[in-house]
Symmetry: C2
Subunit: 233 residues, 2 copies
DNA sequence: TTATAACTATGTTTTACAGCACAAAAATAA
DNA sequence: TTATTTTTGTGCTGTAAAACATAGTTATAA
């Protein structure tokens, strides 16, 4: 078991944006109820239909929020990086989860009971405003995504995904290699296409010297080109 | 009892969910800054790229929130009915509108300056909670929509749209006729398909006795069937 | 080590849907 | 009224992408 002081220091240092908004008494209670959990690669964090009870904060690793659709096909809705919050929306809407979450790579998740979070939101305006901004940002992204996924062609969708991955998880020291190693299947589920087509289109991009691929390592060589494809492809 | 202005009575009666959350002083200032505007059928209410300055509330009529995508194609993101609020999200995200809004039929819109709304959100917890719930609901719908639009086939998407129209705008006295008369093009933009395919698929549904069509009047005859198509089609 | 499963790669076939053309009907304007 | 534009309806064609098949390749387990 993790020491209480450690938990509090994580709240203070990692989740400072959230923590800083709390009053002293709130901080005490939040720290008491804060829990940390580890998830292995591919482990499910929560599933569709479950009751949303925790506000989660990704402290380490990478997480995908996804939705299973028609015929076993899965759609990745959004990607979470440290330090981002997730798992709370359905609670606000008083409904079970309509999405699921899983670790793309081994992940550390901090969590707080939603009823407690709601209680403090209702009396702490800074906290309320924090969630209004979070939700507003996510909603804007979701709306934009709907159009991108439905109207762009395969090349455009994959190009966009690669750029999103770069923006979201950044690159390694070389400034080119994406700092995330995703299975082709996940890349496909992110881009709304079949795995075969993700593989095929990656090959095309490689042939056109837009990217290089080494297993799951992807380097973006010609970002400008990728942006053009994303916009018009 | 003091006689209220027309504007104030609209706030009190039509926008009661919002109004009831305000303190007396807030009510006074809100009433002072409340404006009403009329829009003709097909008139644009706001456009992508504009600065979001008003919280809008649809008092009468029907409004579509849409986004122009690749090659002049348009995607309807959500539909607004009285009394629903819209136009505020982008302001919270401190960005220009990423969507546009237009009247499907002649509409009356009440509006309030966003800076004022923000000011009150920051000191009125009930108001903050109101927007947290609104945003949460919209985000859940948007995420579900992404999957529906990308994974379902044409028949499934149109079936779903018809059901959404029924849930959203209801039916006339006969219990069957959708209470909204949309152009085929709008129906197509709502369902992510071409106008031709919307027309064709409507014809198919008619032949299969699932609906009847008379111009823009649509009656849902076999809702059960429509649900099945929406789910598995 | 070998065996087994999971992932990646690529070629072939099928099909759902967009794109286009054109006509009829309805709405709107002159 | 007639003229003109907009909307609706159908048939035809082409193609993007799914579905399928099969094989090589890399992990994981026994």
């Amino acid at each position: 078991m993790v020491k209480k002081s450690t938990l509090e220091s994580i709240l203070q240092e990692e989740m400072s944006d959230f923590w800083a908004l709390l009053e002293n008494e709130e901080k005490r209670v939040i720290a008491e109820n804060f829990k940390i959990q580890n998830f292995k690669k591919n482990e499910i964090i929560y599933s569709e239909g479950e009751e949303p009870l925790q506000l989660m904060c990704l402290l380490k690793g990478k997480v995908k929020i996804y939705k299973d659709g028609v015929g076993g096909r899965s759609q990745i809705i959004r990607l979470i990086r440290p330090v981002q919050y997730f798992g709370y929306r359905a609670y606000f809407s008083r409904e079970p989860y309509v999405t699921a979450a899983a670790a793309i790579e081994s992940a550390t998740v901090g969590s707080l009971p939603m009823p407690l979070v709601e209680k403090y939101i209702r009396k702490n305006n800074g906290l309320a405003w924090f969630f209004i901004k979070e939700l507003s940002n996510d909603l804007g992204i979701s709306d934009a995504r709907t159009v991108n996924l439905t109207q762009k062609h395969i090349r455009g969708r994959l190009a966009e995904s690669l750029l999103v991955l770069k923006e979201n998880y950044g690159v390694e020291e070389d400034g080119l290699t994406l700092n995330i190693y995703m299975a082709r299947e996940d890349l496909a589920n992110l881009s709304n296409m079949t795995t075969s087509n993700a593989i095929r289109t990656l090959s095309s991009f490689t042939n056109e010297k837009i990217i290089t691929v080494d297993g799951r390592r992807i380097q973006i060589i010609d970002e400008e080109r990728l942006r053009k494809i994303s916009k018009f492809g």
